[in-house]
């Protein structure tokens, strides 16, 4: 161990010490993020061999295919899947946020002791495997269960049919999967809310909407930001839920990538799609940062 007693702490020394402390983290990121990322970039511009092996022939064919250019002309299929993934991730995030606000205020208003019970209830799904949770939805949405019965009576689905696979089931599964990711960070902000700002807004004739947008939203922005990022990014790449609850017709980009690296054995194309997903996610976050800045607490 190096001791620093009595030594003058200069900027240079601080930097030296700082970089030493950074080293393990940097190594980790290099090994498990930057390096695989570079591999992905390289793989995305080479050719798939006849048996799925990688052939070191440079090509942009994979990206062209992603953009829809095939041997038989242009189709929007892959772009549609990408776009659908963006929409699903966006809606999942939005619904999770809308549901989380009342939930957080409800929990924050409980007496201290029961608050932890409610928070535990929110966290419990975390302790259950994702696949098992998706299958649990099968049971809940089964034809014999009240939800499917009700939907059948109302004429949404034929009698005796289950409530899956369809878009509704995907959203249901997605929101239930990601709700805690929004609720927990948001709760941390809601619990610390300075209510005097709410009272000041009311004192200054603010409508309910104005109280929400001017007194509550800016204060809960830090928690909300974390929740949105924690939900939107993984939701973009989610494949378990759409695979099980959406069926073949409701394919998302996560499924597509999994397919390429799995059954199709087309790693170069899979890598190209992954790059596309990454770029889309970056764009989404960038838009959010721009928009978010306008209402961010200074």
């Amino acid at each position: 161990m190096i001791t620093w007693y009595g030594e003058l702490t200069t900027r240079k020394r601080l930097l030296k010490r700082g970089s030493l402390l950074l080293l393990p983290g940097m190594l980790w990121l290099m090994l498990f993020l930057v390096l695989p990322g570079l591999v992905l970039v390289v793989v995305s511009v080479i050719t798939r061999g006849a048996y799925g092996q990688l052939e070191w022939v440079f090509t942009l064919e994979n990206y062209k295919r992603l953009a829809g250019f095939t041997l038989f002309g242009w189709t929007p299929d892959y772009l549609m899947i990408l776009w659908r993934s963006v929409v699903v991730a966006f809606v999942t995030t939005l619904v999770s946020v809308i549901l989380s606000y009342p939930l957080c205020f409800f929990i924050a208003a409980r007496p201290e002791r029961s608050r932890y019970m409610w928070l535990t209830l929110v966290i419990i799904p975390f302790w259950t495997n994702m696949v098992i949770r998706a299958y649990a939805w099968f049971l809940i949405l089964a034809p014999e269960m009240p939800f499917a019965r009700l939907a059948a009576v109302l004429g949404f689905i034929p009698d005796g049919a289950p409530l899956y696979p369809n878009a509704f089931a995907v959203y249901l599964g997605m929101v239930s999967m990601f709700l805690p990711f929004v609720t927990l960070p948001l709760y941390a902000s809601v619990e610390r809310l300075d209510w005097s700002l709410v009272e000041a807004a009311q004192d200054l004739y603010a409508s309910r909407i104005r109280v929400l947008t001017q007194a509550i939203l800016p204060q809960t922005m830090p928690g909300l930001s974390v929740g949105i990022i924690l939900t939107f990014v993984p939701a973009m790449g989610m494949f378990v839920v759409p695979d099980l609850l959406g069926g073949a017709k409701y394919m998302l980009v996560g499924n597509l990538i999994q397919q390429q690296f799995g059954t199709s054995r087309d790693w170069p194309f899979g890598a190209a799609i992954s790059m596309g997903l990454m770029v889309l996610t970056m764009i989404g976050l960038q838009i959010y940062r721009r928009k978010g800045k306008e209402i961010e607490v200074v």
Binding site: D194, S196, L197, E199, A200, A201, Q202, D203, L204, Y205, A206, S207, R210, Q214, A215, P218, I295, E296, V297, V298
Partner: protein, 353 residues
């Protein structure tokens, strides 16, 4: 939004028989008060006496369990805060951190959908009046405590409230600034002629600012009057000690006066009780070398406290506190004559203990 345009400044406030419970605790116990139009009224009391609760009820942030509130003759008891022509300067100022000074001040006008040109005119006038024009584009975290307080004041005043409520607005300021702000606030209120209600636990603040004040204790108003009235003639020992310093002398009634531990003291009128307390302010006690004609006490100085503009002396028997008006130093151990003149002795009406 026509009704909002017709501002009048000649509106007072009346609260009648206000009661408020928090669970089992009676926060306000049948409080009745009248604040005249254009008056600077102060609610003074220790923490937990209910003064802030009363202010919040007037603001509409809390509802009274019983009683009524009127502004300018109009019953506002059941109106929510957003419908009351009453604005508040909060203790923590509660400025919106994401908005600039300008937008903070404009908040109430924007809520009521004033036109931009009108908002600009009114906000700029207030900013100018409170010497904030150069800060208009800053955010609250870039301001000093005194500036924040002025923004909070501007933000409330721009709405031209019937009554302006101030919830301990100086408690976050340091002592020197506080003294100056108190005088500024007083001047501002005189200039505007608007009704101000200030809540504070600082007796000096109450004396400096108010036209009239009410001393509160345990959810009740103990005494209400001008600062001079309350200071010169405190009703009971609580008021006497809370507002300024006082020597409280336990005594029993005797013909023409009271019998105390220092002997007989003549009074100007007879007390209503047999056993009770009389009070005298430290600066009302005369001090000299010769025995006074009446109510003289021979006492020995035990301690002196230098206070800049004067000395405070502690004397035995007693202990009695005497505030000298001169710089004349009287060393501990010296024997002097004190004069507790009958006209300076206040007969306190303490409730049965």
């Amino acid at each position: 939004m026509n009704q909002n345009q017709n501002f009048t400044t000649d509106k007072g406030l009346t609260a009648k028989h206000i009661c408020k419970y928090f669970g089992e605790v009676k926060a306000l116990d049948d409080v009745t008060l009248n604040v005249a139009p254009g008056e600077f009224f102060t609610l003074l009391g220790p923490s937990g006496c209910g003064k802030t609760t009363l202010l919040r009820i007037i603001a509409g942030l809390e509802l009274a369990d019983s009683g009524q509130i009127f502004t300018g003759g109009k019953d506002i008891t059941r109106l929510p805060a957003i419908k009351r022509q009453v604005n508040t300067v909060f203790q923590s100022y509660a400025l919106f951190p994401h908005l600039t000074v300008y937008e903070n001040v404009a908040f109430g006008l924007r809520s009521r959908k004033f036109h931009d040109a009108e908002i600009k005119k009114r906000v700029n006038r207030r900013l100018e009046m409170l010497d904030l024009s150069s800060m208009a584009q800053r955010h609250p975290h870039q301001l000093s405590g005194g500036q924040k307080q002025r923004v909070a004041l501007a933000r409330a005043l721009v709405n031209e409230p019937d009554v302006l409520l101030l919830d301990e607005p100086m408690s976050a300021l340091d002592a020197r600034l506080r003294a100056q702000v108190q005088e500024d606030l007083r001047r501002l209120q005189r200039k505007l002629g608007r009704t101000f209600i200030l809540v504070t636990h600082d007796q000096a603040e109450a004396l400096v600012c108010s036209d009239r004040l009410a001393v509160m204790r345990q959810g009740r108003i103990v005494q209400c009057g001008t600062p001079e009235e309350v200071y010169d003639d405190p009703r009971d020992s609580f008021v006497a000690k809370f507002l300024g310093a006082a020597n409280l002398i336990p005594c029993t009634k005797a013909p023409g006066g009271v019998q105390t531990a220092f002997g007989f003291l003549a009074l100007e009128k007879d007390p209503s009780w047999q056993e009770g307390t009389v009070a005298i302010r430290p600066e009302w006690i005369g001090i000299g070398d010769k025995e006074p004609e009446r109510n003289g006490i021979r006492a020995r100085v035990t301690e002196i406290v230098y206070r800049g503009s004067n000395f405070d002396l502690w004397l035995e028997p007693g202990p009695l506190r005497v505030r000298t008006s001169s710089y004349r130093r009287i060393d501990p151990g010296r024997e002097v004559w004190l004069e507790l003149a009958p006209k300076e002795l206040v007969i306190l009406e303490d409730e049965a203990r």
